[in-house]
Amino acid sequence: MRRKPQIAFFWLSVLLVALPFLTGAALGNSWVRVLDFALLYVMLALGLNIVVGYAGLLDLGYVAFYALGAYLYAWLASPHFGVHLPFWAVLPLGAALAGLFGVLLGAPTLRLRGDYLAIVTLGFGEIIRIFMNNLNAPVNITNGPQGINLIDPVALGGFRFAGTQQVLGVSLPSTYLFYYLFLAFTLAAIFIAMRLQDSRIGRAWAALREDEVAAAAMGVNTRNLKLLAFAMGATFGGLAGGLFAAFQGFISPESFNLWESILILCMIVLGGMGHIPGVILGAVLLTVLPEALRYIGDWQRHAFGHVYVDPSDLRMLLFGLALVLMMVYRPAGLIPSRQRKREFAAEDGVAEQEQASLYDARG
């Protein structure tokens, strides 16, 4: 595979293109919908990975940017304000708005470290959600807890992503169409995330993450880099938010609670922070796992003719257990980056030194 990367690349592309058809035929359309969500979460995880994994800034309010992107999309493409801008115009605006808020959040928190930063970002996430939930009076901006409904379906040059469409003689339900749309965005996100990591900026982020003081001494502009990390991460979040709104057609503040932020953080830590393949795997696993565990009930009915344990009682329990076990046995994530792996293999003393510098709050 290493010798013939082009061939492997080709087969992987074929697989990714064919995946919705395979899934749809084997499991039904609802699983294609799960795949759509998985791609959405891959984008979110890649975005948060820039902030947490690259720059080492622990952000617990990431979902705020997701919400901003989604709400901006809903405002500019739904009957709520009677504005119906096209998809390609709204999406960048949402990403830009989220990026702007990323800088707004980043600016006052530059001096904060580690867990103090975590609690401030958490507060920021909650503040955004509370505003979304309450800004229906005195002026109705967000429609409050009722959420915004009837968001325009994606339309690209007269081609609408709604119902079932005929493309080259193949009939594609909207979930399939969204899969390809999301796949395109996800691949772009992967590309950007990779280029960022290898760039001058990426190396500066790594320096910042490992030792802020040393980085500053080496002439790294820590302020701008932190702001850039927040802005970049937020932009990914805003983009995913806009796609989410277009996909669901309905958004309400319930979809943007603290648990979403925690879940996305779990994805990147579980998969292997700072390492793109790990982050992707983490996101896909944590999206799909709860859905797959849904079948525990059916499976029990098959095996015993009766449901003994309520599936979703067990679902979350198993999910929690998986998080703990995974971390205890693979603390650097499922697919850790090579650098991280080295740190773990190193002697205790060295490893400890390295870790003391990771996301550290104290001297």
Binding site: I130, G320, A332, A351, Y359
Partner: protein, 309 residues
């Protein structure tokens, strides 16, 4: 009735509860620099265990005075929570002591989810009501109302904080804890059994959580498998506000957060001419928290660490 006094009392009672839970966060953080996300759930387990015992006792001996029954509940809940915390530390945190800092945070979240769902399986999904067996006498204080239970909550949390401060400052264990917090290696060289000290810290924090859990469910009249999460979050915010790792800071942060919330919900509408209402109570609280941290990045009483040397 004096509204302002009443709001102050409301805030102080709420704040005392936050403070009691915040102490557990701050102790663990002080030693391990770990946000023990599961601490809120330990509080919940304390409430649930106590409620089960109370239910059993009321069935078996209906003539016992209410205070005795609740006390019995607390006395069972404390060791139960201590055992739980000991197990959590040993299984979920100790293996990760050398891992990157975010790994134990994720296990903490995992443990938190496990405890919530285990509690849901054991005690059900419904809200459990706390029987009305405690004396409910109401007193007048500067034109406001305060009940026996509210007085007890404030007094207990002050007492516990003082006891904890003495423990940390004056006892052998306390000295070992402070030494471990500064440097695990050096403490170990000096003959401190670091593992035991860390276990002790978790266990003491859990005992406080058990007391807090019973107080919370008695005060609000209910318990629920999800109650620990938000309480824990608020308490953690309080600990950070006061300067995490600092015992007096946790108390100060807790009381302050409680008062801010109460005054925020009570007056934010009047202050903004009705533009913002009590739905922005949490926004107000978080805003103050952010403001404090931006101005004093290590909390109110936290050590000021200018920069890592």
């Amino acid at each position: 009735m004096d509204i302002f006094t009443q709001q102050l009392i409301n805030g102080l009672v709420l704040g005392s509860i936050y403070a009691l839970v915040a102490l557990g966060y701050t102790m663990v953080y002080g030693i391990l620099e770990l946000i023990n996300f599961a601490h809120g759930e330990v509080t919940m387990i304390g409430a649930m265990v106590a409620l089960s015992v109370i239910g059993l006792l009321m069935g078996a001996a209906p003539d016992l005075p209410g205070l005795m029954v609740v006390l019995a509940g607390v006395l069972v809940a404390i060791p139960a929570c201590m055992l739980l915390a000991f197990a959590i530390e040993k299984m979920a945190y100790r293996p990760l002591r050398k891992a990157p800092r975010l790994a134990p945070l994720i296990t903490a979240i995992g443990v938190s989810i496990i405890l919530q769902n285990a509690a849901m399986l054991i005690w059900g999904r419904q809200y459990v009501s706390f029987p009305r067996i405690l004396p409910e006498a109401r007193h007048e204080l500067f034109g406001a109302h305060i009940t026996d239970l509210q007085i007890a909550i404030v007094a207990l949390s002050l007492l516990i904080m003082a006891g904890l401060w003495l423990l940390v400052q004056k006892t052998r264990l306390g000295r070992a804890m402070r030494a471990t917090a500064q440097s695990k290696e050096v403490a170990a060289l000096m003959g401190v059994n670091v593992d035991r000290v860390i276990s002790a810290t978790f266990v003491i924090g859990a005992a406080l959580a058990a007391v807090a859990g019973v107080l919370v469910s008695a005060y609000y009249g209910l318990a629920h498998y999800y109650m620990g999460f938000l309480l824990g979050l608020k308490a953690f915010s309080a600990a950070v506000l006061g300067g995490i790792g600092n015992i007096a800071g946790a108390m100060l942060g807790g009381l302050l957060l409680g008062v801010i919330e109460a005054l925020g919900a009570g007056y934010i509408g009047d202050l903004t001419g009705g533009f913002l209402g009590s739905h922005y109570q949490d926004v107000f609280a978080f805003f103050v928290l952010i403001l404090v941290l931006v101005l004093r990045p290590s909390g109110l009483l936290g050590e000021r660490v200018a920069s890592r040397a």
